[in-house]
Symmetry: C2
Subunit: 108 residues, 2 copies
DNA sequence: AAAAATACATTGTTATACTATGTATTGTGT
DNA sequence: ACACAATACATAGTATAACAATGTATTTTT
């Protein structure tokens, strides 16, 4: 670890940004958990542990920001596909507006 | 509380953004703790509890991102003035670059 | 046949915001 | 004069969520 402070900071920042990443991606297409981990890495260059993402998805379900359905596969383990709900969409909009506002203030 | 999820999200996001706020403000002028609370509210419209800020300042001191000096006042309690260090400045630059990168990806 | 990748999930640890509380001084309203 | 708010520091306990470690099971690659 080169810079302990920065690494810790990234981890703390993730606590706020991860729900935003998940909602952002699910706003564009339905995904299953394992797929989300790869998409988040591809889009945001962020490595998310499974032990982080799965509890987060469960949490977002409880808050009713997401819905899900099991989809059987021709072969292999069934996939749990998640979709963003209407509540999720409105929250996502507020979250994006807020983060943009903050960043404007930091740059301005 | 209207939207419990959003309130919690703001709180989590703060964990990542608060060090950025503090370094950003101290990059422009030296401040004492109580003053920082007011400045953060004024600039970022964020209410920071004293029980949040003081431990954070102590942490940033330990990480050597800040320096401080006590300044006696003509009247009243002495103030502990904080200033950003060279390490603090370089970390701040990285933090700003990173947050901007993320926002670009969310908006793009 | 072994290892890696896919796909789900839980448990324990750690970091940090937040509430509550504490100390002490100064200013304001009545 | 006296209560209350504001100023200015600080710590203790609680709640939240990332992360590492671990577990189960199937499929693909070497």
């Amino acid at each position: 670890m080169k810079n302990e402070f920065l690494e810790n900071w990234h981890s703390q920042l993730r606590k706020g940004l991860l729900p935003l990443y998940v909602l952002h991606i699910l706003d564009q297409k339905q995904c299953y958990g394992y797929e989300l981990i790869q998409d988040i890495k591809a889009v945001f260059s962020v490595d998310v542990a499974e032990g982080t993402l799965y509890p987060l998805l469960i949490r977002l379900m409880k808050e009713e920001l997401l819905t899900h359905q099991w989809v059987e596969q021709p072969s292999g383990i069934p996939r749990k596909y998640y979709a963003i709900s209407a509540v999720g969409k409105s929250n996502l909009a507020e979250m994006k507006a807020y983060t943009n506002l903050i960043i404007t203030k930091i740059n301005g």
